[in-house]
């Protein structure tokens, strides 16, 4: 049973066929990469998976359950944790508040009980704070706990956003360019982190990534998207030297060029 399975997903925006019959699957414990040039439809695919867009055709299945038309907040509660390309967090709130907001579905009390403020609520709030603190510690972000997110540097934001996605208690993580804004060292560290998360939390991941060394290192399988269609799929090494992929990225240059770019 796959954790996530897309079956012929298509979506059209006016005259643009953003996704054209895309099928892919992510199995339990796998880290799957989704690469492709700008405008290939990678983020659109994420939005179809997480319910922000409704595909015109095709099905999205989560653990054999058809979730094509499930709205995004329900998907998040089901176990779809996602990050955004340009950082999705509450900028005016602190890191701690963001991590607690992200635990919304697992707060363990309903909104009105919260307003009344019963002892259960207070106890649950302490647990939410404790979990938020544990995530901060896991990511080494204790220093920014009480800082407003709007003032943090981009690299910190991307990492904290990963923390927020973890706080939603995901079954599958969908990461949209997690290494953007990071230098080579940090992105290497991020790779270690993603592998550690899989090992320790048993997470399955689908990630959009441009950074080839990171993809090669962490991904078990890679799908390449171009102009809304699947161009190629396979193991990272095979994809890296796939002539169509190289052509899509570099406009018909020799495979060596990609190798150089990857260094």
């Amino acid at each position: 049973m796959s954790v996530l399975e897309l079956d012929g997903v298509s979506i059209r925006f006016g005259g643009l066929q953003a996704l054209d019959h895309v099928s892919l699957k992510v199995d339990e414990w796998e880290i799957v990469g989704l690469i492709g040039p700008n405008g290939a439809g990678k983020t659109t695919l994420f939005n179809c998976v997480t319910g922000f867009y409704k595909p015109n055709r095709g099905r999205v299945r989560y653990r054999d359950q058809d979730v094509t038309n499930v709205p995004p907040h329900k998907k998040a509660a089901m176990g779809f944790g996602r990050t955004f390309q340009n950082v999705g967090m509450v900028k005016g709130a602190t890191a701690l508040e963001n991590l607690k907001t992200a635990q919304h579905a697992h707060a363990g009390y309903d909104a009105l009980t919260g307003i009344v403020g019963t002892p259960t609520v207070l106890a649950r709030e302490r647990e939410l704070t404790a979990k938020a603190d544990a995530i901060l510690e896991l990511l080494g972000l204790e220093d920014v706990r009480d800082l407003r997110v709007g003032g943090l540097s981009y690299g910190t934001l991307k990492l904290l956003e990963l923390g927020c996605a973890l706080a939603t208690d995901p079954d599958i993580l969908l990461l949209d360019e997690p290494s953007s804004g990071m230098g080579p060292d940090e992105s290497h560290e991020l790779g270690d982190r993603l592998l550690a998360l899989r090992r320790e939390l048993g997470l399955t991941m689908l990630l959009i990534e441009h950074h080839v060394p990171l993809v090669t290192r962490v991904c078990d399988y890679v799908y390449v998207l171009n102009f809304g269609q699947l161009l190629a799929e396979g193991a990272p090494e095979a994809i890296r030297n796939h002539p169509d992929v190289v052509a899509a990225y570099l406009g018909g240059e020799a495979p060596e060029a990609l190798e150089e770019a990857a260094e």
Binding site: H73, G92, K100, T101, A111, E125, V144, G151, S153
Partner: protein, 370 residues
């Protein structure tokens, strides 16, 4: 505009010296003295004026939930207040001027809360698909339509002569009624505080900034927008119910054009001046607007220009509101909340500093190498 729940850094009361504790106690005692001692010391008229200030504070808090926390601009808040007053006064109305039975009084206040919430829910449902300018327009029209349709129903507004709402015997005195209003402010402040520090407040805060992010955090945006509307409406309805007993009557003229429209503007102006999202700032600014007329009366009497003021009463308060609004928007966008926040932090045990520590950049942190 700076908004969001007020976040105080972790309290450090443990590190506060005895002198520091004393200083804080003095400040708190001074606030209590101003809120309780001054009105009781100055007598019935001032107590009555301060009751209105407390009612305005309740309205300010209700506006702050909708506009400050949820980011839904409302120009129809006077309609929620109005239906609350209408329902409360009709429940207790009798043809003889006798004190209302306490049970009936409680029932009428509860009904005012309920009808306020229900009315706001209807407006919220209409407003779900729109935001910004269009939302402001829809709420404005909603307030106007409510004024022209609901408040002018002859059988409900006492055939335009007003509906009496006599206070229960225990609250007949201005002092007792003022304490009742203060208790209402305290309850509403608790609800507001409780709201912001639990999941509902966090969800509403998230959806104000970005509905996409809120959804990614599993927040049902529709549900929490409606919650913000109905909570705001419930509190505004409460204010309306209390207001009916404050004036001991309901008059449709308070909520219909032009008075109703002026109220709508004042309510919005007072939360902006108080600072959107800032509980303490909004309470102070709202109380100020509630007291504006008596303050001006007193001021012009004192300088011996009462005659002049009587002739110009129609626009002087508006002019003051407009001036303060401009001052806020241009020079102090965080409103009064921004001004009182250092005091709040200090009272909570932090150092007195104008610099908000949560605004610090994370330079030098070991995770920042990019």
């Amino acid at each position: 505009m700076a908004a969001g729940s007020e976040t105080l850094p972790t309290p450090r009361l443990a590190t506060v010296t005895v002198a520091g504790m004393l200083a804080r106690a003095v400040v708190i005692a001074a606030v209590v003295a101003v809120v309780l001692g001054v009105p009781f010391g100055l007598g019935s008229k001032v107590l009555s004026d301060c009751s209105l200030a407390a009612i305005y504070a309740v309205i300010g808090i209700s506006m702050n939930i909708l506009v400050g926390y949820a980011g839904q601009i409302s120009l129809g808040q006077q309609a929620f207040v109005g239906v609350g007053a209408l329902v409360a006064s009709n429940i207790v109305h009798t043809n003889t001027v006798t004190a209302t039975d306490p049970f009936l009084f409680a029932l009428s206040i509860a009904a005012a809360v309920g009808i306020g919430a229900a009315t706001a829910l209807v407006l919220g449902a209409v407003a779900l698909r729109i935001s910004g300018l269009y939302l402001a327009l829809v709420t404005l029209v909603f307030g106007a339509v409510a004024a022209d349709v609901v408040f002018t129903i002859e059988s409900l507004n006492g055939h335009s002569a007003g509906v009496t709402a006599v206070r229960p015997a225990a609250l007949a005195g201005d002092g007792a009624f003022y304490l009742f209003c203060l208790a209402a402010v305290a309850v509403v402040l608790y609800v507001d505080w409780s709201f912001t520090r639990t999941k509902a407040g966090r969800a509403v805060n998230a959806l104000r900034e970005s509905e996409l992010v809120a959804q990614a955090f599993a927040v049902d945006v529709v549900r929490y927008k409606l919650l913000a509307f109905s909570l705001s409406g419930a509190i505004a309805g409460l204010a309306g119910g209390i207001f009916a007993f404050y004036t001991e009557s309901f008059s449709d003229k308070t909520y219909t054009y032009p008075a109703g429209f002026t109220l709508a503007l004042i309510f919005l102006v007072m939360v902006v001046i108080g600072g959107l999202g800032s509980r303490s700032g909004v309470v102070i600014a709202s109380a100020f607007f509630g007291l504006l007329n008596p303050i001006l009366d007193w001021f012009f009497n004192t300088i011996g220009r009462a005659d002049w003021y009587v002739d110009h009463k129609n626009y002087v308060p508006g002019l003051i509101g407009a001036t303060l609004l401009l001052q806020t928007i241009i020079m102090n966008p965080g409103g009064l909340g921004q001004v009182v926040r250092p005091i709040g932090r200090w009272l909570a045990g932090g150092r007195f500093t104008f610099h908000d520590e949560s605004e610090s950049a994370d330079v030098g942190g070991r995770h920042v190498r990019a």
